[in-house]
């Protein structure tokens, strides 16, 4: 008889009052008993609707069955068949809109905690299993991957499993992309990311850091060096600003800069050489996960008042519900239906305030969301000494501007077909470089699709030869 509790087994978390001053992981994960108890809630529907909600089609009921039976190692291998980074996905996927959204149990009560179970399995395996990664037999073909974020790493892992010799080129000094510089330690511990990357290395994937494709080598150079296909997973790292007066004042950061200083360069730690501003009152502009991450980092750096300014209402807030709740528990203020119009500064060039205007929701726009409209004359000022712009990012133009025949749309996103094939033969792409800023799991799904298409392309060429 399954566990018919309407609620998920709760996952222990760090106390909000304690965690708001440290960078350690907030959610602590299930114990073996909690995991098995939660696994009992799965009804093992023959139609497996959950699987259709997963962008990489993890065989969810089977791995949950293994958890229920206490066969955690087996559970890991089931997940790993289709997902290269389960410890990451179990933590950062928006399960509420993916696998768990489709779960039958969610129709009445809460869905099965698929994400928490995936995370449990990956963590258990990392801590207990005797991991001997077998290097697959090489098939003699070479593929280059540009960018070591979730899309590139997944593509590299899938190709390596098939025997390809894969080289990943990463511009920063560590691999991981947004998993390293963007998502903070308290949501995704960096040692977990590095562990998963080490696993890829053991499978024979070369990861070359400090390599900016488009500057030190072009895509054409890679083909000249004997790579038969190239996968571009360079992401959407170019920060957007609002082009309003005062945005270049000191104390105004893009979220990318603030988070890079914090997460990649560890500016929150004593004795580290990269500085970060220790502000008193900070405003974060935007309502996505990046805004929540920046706000919660600011809080942990000791900023007394942290306020999210977002132009729509709570309903439309694009961040994960869990992150918004965590942010609120940690004391972050929300000023909704508010939009900045001007940044104010003092005589030394530091930001001293922002002028905002109140908004109301009008008719739905093309995206189906109600369009925020300014309320004339509702302007008011918030005093601040730090401002973080988290209003989205666009793909970096470096690769498209140095590669002939690679077409992009008007937003600068690479144009591909559904298999990730670009307008250049042998060049595939996926993740934020194609979609613009999206989620980790969608990027992984695109990496997977790209790897399958590259395999097919090279095999077909082989046969023709």
């Amino acid at each position: 008889m399954p566990n018919m509790s309407l609620k998920k087994v709760e996952m222990p978390v760090q106390d909000p009052m304690v965690r708001r001053s440290n960078f350690e992981e907030v959610a602590l994960g299930y114990t073996e008993e909690q995991a098995r108890e939660e696994a009992e809630r799965c009804l093992h529907c023959p139609t497996k609707p959950c699987v259709s909600g997963c962008p990489v089609s993890v065989n969810i009921p089977d791995f949950i069955k293994a958890v229920k039976e206490g066969e955690f190692e087996k559970a890991y291998h089931i997940i790993h068949e289709t997902s290269s980074l389960p410890a990451v996905c179990g933590r950062v996927c928006p399960q509420e809109t993916q696998c768990e959204h489709e779960c039958v149990r969610g129709k009445k009560g809460e869905s099965v905690a698929i994400g928490r179970l995936e995370r449990f399995v990956a963590d258990w395996y990392r801590e207990h299993a005797d991991e001997e990664v077998l290097k697959p037999q090489e098939n003699g073909h070479r593929v280059a991957v540009v960018g070591a974020g979730p899309a590139g790493l997944t593509c590299a892992g899938d190709l390596a499993k098939k025997g390809y010799h894969v080289s990943v080129f990463e511009a920063l000094h560590v691999a991981g992309g947004v998993l390293m510089y963007g998502i903070p330690e308290f949501r995704l511990p960096k040692k977990i990311v590095q562990h998963e990357i080490d696993g890829l290395r053991k499978m024979g994937v070369d990861i070359e850091t400090n390599a900016v494709i488009g500057r030190c080598e072009s895509v054409d150079d890679l083909f000249d060096q004997g790579y038969e296909a190239v996968f571009i997973g360079s992401g959407a790292g170019l920060p957007n600003f609002m082009n309003m007066p005062g945005e270049n004042l000191k104390g105004v950061y893009s979220a990318n800069e603030f988070l890079t200083r914090c997460n990649l360069m560890k500016a929150y730690r004593e004795g580290v050489d990269t500085p970060i501003q220790h502000a008193k009152r900070a405003v974060i502009v935007g309502g996505g996960n990046v805004a929540m991450d920046a706000a919660r980092c600011a809080k942990r750096l000791g900023v007394e008042e942290v306020t999210i300014v977002y132009r729509r209402s709570m309903e439309e807030l694009p961040a994960r519900k869990e992150e918004v709740e965590h942010a609120m528990e940690e004391g972050i203020e929300f000023r909704l239906l508010t939009n900045p119009v001007r940044v104010l500064g003092n005589e030394e060039g530091w930001v001293s305030g922002i002028e905002c205007v109140k908004m109301e929701l009008g008719e739905p726009d093309a995206s189906g969301r109600r369009r925020p409209v300014e309320i004339k004359g509702s302007n008011f000022t918030i005093d601040i000494d730090c401002m973080i712009m988290a209003i989205g990012t666009s793909p970096n133009p470096l690769i498209r501007s140095t590669t002939e025949g690679l077409e992009t749309n008007r937003k600068g996103c690479l144009i591909t077909d559904e298999d990730g094939k670009t307008t250049r033969e042998g060049v595939y792409a996926g993740g934020d470089a194609v979609t613009g800023a999206a989620t980790v799991i969608l990027a992984m799904g695109a990496g997977k699709t790209g790897a399958a298409a590259i395999d097919e392309y090279i095999q077909a060429k082989d046969k023709a030869a």
Partner: protein, 280 residues
Amino acid sequence: MFRIIKKESLNPTVTRMVVEAPLVAKKAQAGQFIILRVHEDGERIPLTVADYDREQGTITIIFQIVGRTTMLLNQLEEGDAILDFVGPLGRPSEVEGLKKVCVIGGGVGCAIAYPTAKALHENGAEVTVITGFRNKDLVILEEEFDAVSEHRYLVSDDGSTGVKGLVTNVLEELIEKGEQFDEVIAIGPLPMMKFVCLLTKKYGIKTIVSMNPIMIDGTGMCGCCRLSVGGEMKFACVDGPDFDGHLVDFDEAMARNSAYRDFENRAREATCNLFQKEVA
């Protein structure tokens, strides 16, 4: 890891290093820069490519010892390695089609001006060089500049070498005497570049400056290095570092460069104390 092949002191505060970095050396051009990191907890700092040798696979950097990271870098000796070294970054300087150019270098900015002067010279331009230093002990790259210029003028703030005064005094004299430059290229401290631009604007001479804002990644993903150029936001690491000097908002750039001054002062003092202790 990137091995230091050669290290020499150009003056008491400026060091030249030749670093083994074949991937950077393959494509580096004048006007581009690298970003390096000295140790695991280190910051990323930008330094200009002062020279390159494609065959040897080496990059030359010249840096002034101004704070913690440059002190740590200067502690490394030949045979030691730099942890991270990435590039070439930024756009190369535009040297095509220029016939008569005045290259102005201020202090350690001369290290950036030199490869540009060299590229212009190799491209057949007539190059006039004006270099400025605080005093005679700080003068660098005299022979190097002589090899790539037709005329060279040296000025110092205190008159201890060359002409006493500022680079702008010499430039104005040359212009007044009827020298006609297609372009002036000024590289050095922000106030120097600002005053060169104010002068050349008066005479309507196109002027290029190499900007030096605070950078982190150097690949366009954070916007820390943003500047106002002609009223538009530009990222120096990908749109520059060279810009039309008459369009740059220098006062804003100067303010932005001072954002971490307190932190930098503390880090420098701590590092000074550390090294004194080690010596004693």
